[in-house]
Assembly symmetry: C3
Homo-oligomer: 149 residues x 3
């Protein structure tokens, strides 16, 4: 069974646990569900839904992959190469500046796979399923594939 | 088929390859197995079982996400926001200090999925399956879901 | 259905989307495909196939996990522990120096799982499937497991 979640992501974290859980409930079988983002700068991540932890994640990403890099070399470059739009012939001049978003995606996954038991997600006490938006605001699609065991 | 591995993790790396391999063997079919941690600070990771490599991983985590951060700002803060327990109303005063454990989980996965051929894991020469404990010591549960192809 | 992709990886990025897509097409069903690397220093990653983004990834890896570390301690060590071959009794003296490759693997995954709909990969507009070679040049095997939903 496939189900699609459509979200307009204006925040870094969008908790999609309830949507996936409702799909699992209507499916009612046992196996796994793969929750997959169709987008390169939207990731899926299971973590705790605690505000201050989410703040740590934000600060960590800002540190390891800042939007503008420290000036480098004699040309004092602060751009990611991906954002040097003048070299990308097929790309419009007003393309989004999101080189940092792509690098940040290295810390998350395209998808998470979660076990399902008789229509119930097995997530433990603290795990929630999040869509992680690295380049807001966007209309996004997340594909949930339920596979019976 | 679902099987649960229960571990008391006192080490960063717990090799669970043999347990998963034994389950695969008793299952005897072909498909995949998803190995999933129910916990936010216990991850699953496939890597080489070589002691000095594991030391590199430990040093790397200590560097990129130390337990106490370098003092920041005029208040010289060294805590992860998650560890400022006085702001978390629902949390007991003796809560674990594990903000760094949550950030470290960004380098690993909630689960790994491994192919199975006639009851045998396909892992190649060097790959082993590990539970990565980022907040020891804990009683942990890992859920293995076997899915036939 | 299982299919194996054999590649000789002389580059950091090898785009394997077409191979996986062709397998999916011949399979013709709906479900998921898990694309798994049998090797500890070859990873699988879904990202955009844009040259300058790939350059950012290369520079990022060189920064966070350089081949030789900054000199540390009074012995000015620049080696990863994994590369101190003289301490690894079972290892030949001419073993590859790839401690950094193992650390770099923490930024990617052993496998990616992608939804399939009637023999077509669901990847969105920009997602491609790459083999990420962290220790070239090697003969590598990637196992694709197709699972019906």
């Amino acid at each position: 069974m496939k189900k699609v979640i459509k979200v307009k992501t204006d925040k870094l974290f969008t908790n999609i646990t309830n949507e996936v859980s409702d799909f699992a409930s209507s499916w009612g079988k046992s196996g796994i569900v793969n929750i997959f983002s169709k987008h390169t700068t939207l990731c899926i991540w299971c973590t705790e839904d605690e505000l201050l932890h989410k703040l740590d994640v934000r600060f960590f990403l800002d540190k390891v992959a800042p939007r503008w890099k420290e000036p480098e070399g004699s040309h004092h470059n602060i751009k990611y190469m991906h954002d040097i739009i003048s070299l990308r012939n097929e790309t419009p001049a007003d393309e989004r500046i999101n080189g940092h978003s792509h690098i940040r995606s290295m810390f998350f996954s395209s998808s998470e796979t979660v076990p399902v038991d008789n229509g119930k997600l097995i997530l433990g006490t603290y795990k929630n399923i999040f869509a992680i938006e690295l380049d807001p605001v966007r209309d996004r699609e997340i594909v949930c594939s339920f596979i019976e065991e």
